[in-house]
C-alpha cells in the first residue's frame, strides 16, 4: 500500500529505473561512436561481439524474470488484496462530475444520489465500487501534494472494485484521468479524511 509520507514515491522509483535504463543506452551509443575507428580487422571485432551473445541475453532474461517476480506480487486487483474492506463507497462518474456515497449498487447508475465531496476515516480499507453513467471516465485519487495515489476506470456497464487505505487524514482530490469530452478537466471531487 502506498504511504503518503514516503520520500520516494512509486513514480520517482519508476523514473529512476527508467533513467538508469536510458543512461545504459546512451553509454552504448557513446561507446559505439568512440570505438568505431579502433582496431585493425573489422571482421574480428564482429566476432568479439558475438562471443558475448550468451551472457548478454542471459543477463537480460535474468533482469526480466526478477522484475516479474518482484512486481507481479503487488497487483491492485481485489483478489490480490488480503484485507477485507471496512467500508464501501459507490462512485458514479457522469459527464462532468463525480457522485460518491455509501450504499448498495444501484440498478441505474444515473439515478444514484451521491455527492462530489465525501468524508472517510483514516486507517480503514475503503472499497470504491466505480462505474459511469454515460462514457468512460477514470476515478483517480490525488493527495494535497499532487501525487497520484490510486485509480481505476469508470466504465459504463461495469463496476470496478478499487481498495485503498488512507494512512493519514487530509484533503484528497478526485480527478478524471480518462478524456471524456471537452469539459474533461473540470470533473473533480473531494475526499476529506478525518476521524
Amino acid at each position: 500500500m502506498y504511504c503518503t509520507s514516503m520520500l520516494l514515491t512509486i513514480q520517482h522509483s519508476a523514473a529512476l529505473i527508467s533513467l538508469i535504463g536510458a543512461l545504459v543506452v546512451v553509454g552504448v551509443v557513446l561507446f559505439l561512436f568512440t570505438t568505431s575507428d579502433q582496431g585493425d580487422e573489422k571482421h574480428e571485432a564482429k566476432k568479439m561481439v558475438y562471443a558475448l551473445r550468451g551472457k548478454y541475453f542471459l543477463g537480460l532474461a535474468a533482469v526480466i524474470v526478477v522484475g516479474l517476480v518482484i512486481t507481479l506480487g503487488m497487483l491492485p486487483y481485489p483478489k490480490f488484496q488480503t484485507e477485507a474492506p471496512d467500508q464501501t463507497i459507490v462512485v458514479v462518474g457522469s459527464q462532468w462530475s463525480w457522485k460518491m456515497g455509501p450504499g448498495e449498487l444501484p440498478a441505474e447508475p444515473k439515478k444514484f444520489k451521491g455527492k462530489s465531496t465525501i468524508t472517510l476515516p483514516p486507517g480503514k480499507t475503503i472499497q470504491f465500487l466505480v462505474t459511469a453513467s454515460d462514457v468512460t471516465h477514470n476515478f483517480a485519487i490525488y493527495n494535497e501534494q499532487g501525487v497520484l495515489l490510486a485509480q481505476t476506470q469508470a466504465m459504463p456497464g461495469y463496476w470496478n472494485d478499487l481498495r485503498y487505505t488512507f494512512a493519514q487524514g487530509g484533503t484528497f482530490k478526485v480527478l478524471c484521468l480518462e478524456y471524456c469530452g471537452a469539459p474533461h478537466t473540470v470533473m473533480t471531487g473531494k475526499i476529506v479524511v478525518e476521524q
Binding site: Q11, A45, Q151
Partner: protein, 492 residues
C-alpha cells in the same frame, strides 16, 4: 530470382517520392498542433477546450496514420525494388485512399471540431459531444477508408513475398530452424515485414469490425455495444498499428545499415526465433492499456505484463545486439544516415524501456494516464520511428557515391535530436510528478502542484518543440535537394 528493370525502379521511385513529400509536408504541420497544445497547457496562449481537443484528436490520428503510412511505403519501395515485383498501381491506390481519409479527418477536426481523441473511446463519440454529429460520421468513414487502404497494402506485400519465397512458413523463416541450410536465402526485411504486417492485417480487420459497429450506432443511435469489448478492439487495433510502425523501420535498418558498415546482416536461427516470438507477443501486448479496467480478467492483465516484458527481448534486444555487432569497430563514416539509424534504435530502446516500466501493473496504477504515457510513446515515435524514417529519406536522396550530407543538414539533425529529448524530458518529469495527460489546462485540477508544475513543464516543452521544428526545417534543404534531384540514378 525476380528481375527488376530500370522502368520499374523509376516508377517505384516516383511513388515513394510522392509518399515522402507528403510525409515531409504533413509531419511539421502535425507538430505545430502539438506545439499549440503545449503552449495552451503552459498558459502562453488560450484556445477553447473544443478547439484544443480537436487539435489533440487530429495530432494523434494524424501522426499515427502518417507515420505508419510512410513506414509501409518505405517497406513497399524496398521490397518492390529488391526482392519481388509489386503492383505500383495498387501502391497509388493506397496513397489515394489514405489521402482521402486524411482530408476527411482534417475536415472533421479542424472545421467540424470533432474531438473524441485518437482512440475515440467508446461510447464517447456518441454521448455528450461538443461537436456536430456529421463530424463523427465523417471521422468514422475516413478511418474505415484508411484502414481498408492499409489492409489492402499489407495483404499485397505479404502475398507477393509469400509467392516469391515459397509460402508463409518460409516467409517467417522456419526453413532456418532445421539442420539443413535454407535453399533460398530470406532477406531480413522480408521476415520483419511479414512479422509486422500480418499482425497489422489482423489489427485492421479488428479495427474495421469495430468501426463498422461505430458506424451502425452513428446511423441508428438506439444501438449500443459493450464498452469493454470495444475498448479491447480499439487497443488491439491502435497499439498494434503503432507497434508495427516501429518494426517496419527496423526492417529497413537491417537492410540498409550493412551498406555503411560493410558487414553482412543475415538471418540466423536466433533472429528467426526472436522475430517469431515477437509475432506472438505483439498480439497480446495491448492488454497493458486495460490494466485499470479491473473487470478485465486478471489472467489477461498478467498476460499483458508478460507479453510486454518478453517482447522487449526478441525485437529490441536482438536488434540492439545486431546494431552493436554491425557498428563496433566498423570504421563507419558517421554521416547523418548511420547516425540516424543508431540514434533511432537508441530512441526505440529508451522509449521501449520506459514503456516496459509503465507496463508493470503495480507501477501502472500510478502512471496510467499521466504524462508518462505520452513520454514513452513520443520517445518511441519521435526518436525511434521518425529517425529511422529520416535515415531512409536521406538514403533515398543519396547516391551510392555520395551518402554524405551538407554540414547544415547535420546541424539541423542535431538540433532536432536535442530539441526532441528536451521536449520528451518535460513529459517524463510530468509523469513523475503525476501530471495528468490530456488536460487542456491544469488550473481546473484544483491542486497547486499539478497546476504550477504542469504549466511550467508545458511552457519549457513548447520551447523545445520550437527547436524540433527549426532543426527539422533546416534538414529540409538537403532532404528535398536529394529527393528531387532529377539527374541522379535512383538509390539502389
Amino acid at each position: 530470382m525476380t528481375a527488376f528493370n530500370p522502368e520499374d525502379r523509376g516508377r517505384h521511385k516516383k511513388l515513394i517520392l510522392t509518399w515522402s513529400i507528403t510525409f515531409l509536408v504533413l509531419f511539421p504541420l502535425l507538430i505545430v498542433l502539438g506545439l499549440l497544445m503545449r503552449m495552451n497547457q503552459g498558459e502562453v496562449i488560450k484556445v477553447d477546450n473544443a478547439t484544443f481537443y480537436s487539435y489533440m484528436t487530429l495530432h494523434g490520428l494524424g501522426m499515427a496514420g502518417v507515420l505508419f503510412s510512410m513506414a509501409w511505403a518505405a517497406v513497399f519501395y524496398l521490397v518492390g525494388t529488391r526482392y519481388v515485383k509489386l503492383n505500383i498501381g495498387l501502391g497509388y491506390a493506397v496513397f489515394l485512399l489514405v489521402v482521402i481519409g486524411s482530408v476527411g479527418l482534417a475536415v472533421a477536426t479542424l472545421i467540424g471540431k470533432f474531438a473524441a481523441g485518437w482512440y475515440m473511446l467508446y461510447p464517447l463519440p456518441f454521448i455528450g459531444a461538443t461537436w456536430k454529429a456529421w463530424t463523427t460520421g465523417l471521422a468514422i468513414i475516413s478511418l474505415i477508408i484508411m484502414g481498408v487502404a492499409w489492409l489492402i497494402g499489407c495483404l499485397h506485400v505479404v502475398y507477393a513475398l509469400s509467392r516469391e519465397y515459397g509460402g508463409f512458413t518460409n516467409l517467417i523463416g522456419w526453413q532456418y530452424l532445421g539442420k539443413k541450410p535454407p535453399e533460398k536465402e530470406l532477406p531480413p526485411l522480408a521476415l520483419i515485414a511479414t512479422i509486422s504486417l500480418v499482425p497489422g492485417i489482423l489489427a485492421f480487420i479488428a479495427g474495421a469490425a469495430m468501426l463498422v459497429m461505430y458506424l451502425l450506432q452513428h446511423l441508428e443511435p438506439s444501438l449500443s455495444f459493450d464498452a469493454l469489448v470495444q475498448k479491447n478492439l480499439m487497443f488491439f487495433f491502435g497499439h498494434t498499428l503503432v507497434n508495427i510502425t516501429m518494426y517496419c523501420g527496423v526492417g529497413w535498418l537491417y537492410t540498409l545499415l550493412p551498406e555503411f558498415t560493410g558487414r553482412e546482416w543475415k538471418l540466423n536461427k536466433l533472429t528467426v526465433y526472436a522475430w517469431n516470438a515477437t509475432f506472438f507477443f505483439i498480439v497480446f501486448a495491448y492488454f497493458h492499456h486495460l490494466y485499470m479496467d479491473f473487470v478485465q480478467p486478471t489472467g489477461l492483465q498478467i498476460a499483458g505484463q508478460l507479453a510486454s516484458y518478453f517482447s522487449a527481448i526478441p525485437a529490441t534486444a536482438v536488434t540492439m545486439f545486431g546494431v552493436i555487432a554491425q557498428l563496433y569497430r566498423s570504421k563507419v563514416k558517421w554521416g547523418v544516415i548511420p547516425t540516424a539509424f543508431l540514434l533511432g534504435v537508441a530512441g526505440w530502446a529508451i522509449g521501449g524501456f520506459a514503456a516496459v516500466v509503465d507496463s508493470t501493473i503495480s507501477i501502472n496504477k500510478v502512471l496510467h494516464n499521466t504524462l508518462w504515457v505520452p513520454a514513452h510513446f513520443h520517445t518511441y515515435m519521435l526518436m525511434g520511428v521518425v529517425l529511422l524514417i529520416l535515415a531512409f529519406l536521406y538514403y533515398l536522396g543519396s547516391t551510392e557515391k555520395n551518402r554524405d550530407l551538407s554540414p547544415k543538414a547535420g546541424f539541423g539533425f542535431w538540433l532536432f535530436v536535442a530539441g526532441a529529448y528536451g521536449f520528451l524530458l518535460m513529459f517524463y518529469l510530468g509523469g513523475m510528478e503525476s501530471i495528468p495527460r490530456r488536460f487542456s489546462e491544469y488550473a481546473s485540477s484544483g491542486i497547486a502542484h499539478t497546476h504550477d508544475t504542469g504549466a511550467l513543464l508545458a511552457k519549457v516543452a513548447a520551447l523545445f518543440v520550437a527547436l524540433v521544428l527549426i532543426g527539422l526545417l533546416m534538414m529540409y534543404g538537403a532532404l528535398f535537394n536529394g529527393l528531387l534531384k532529377k539527374d541522379q540514378a535512383p538509390a539502389k
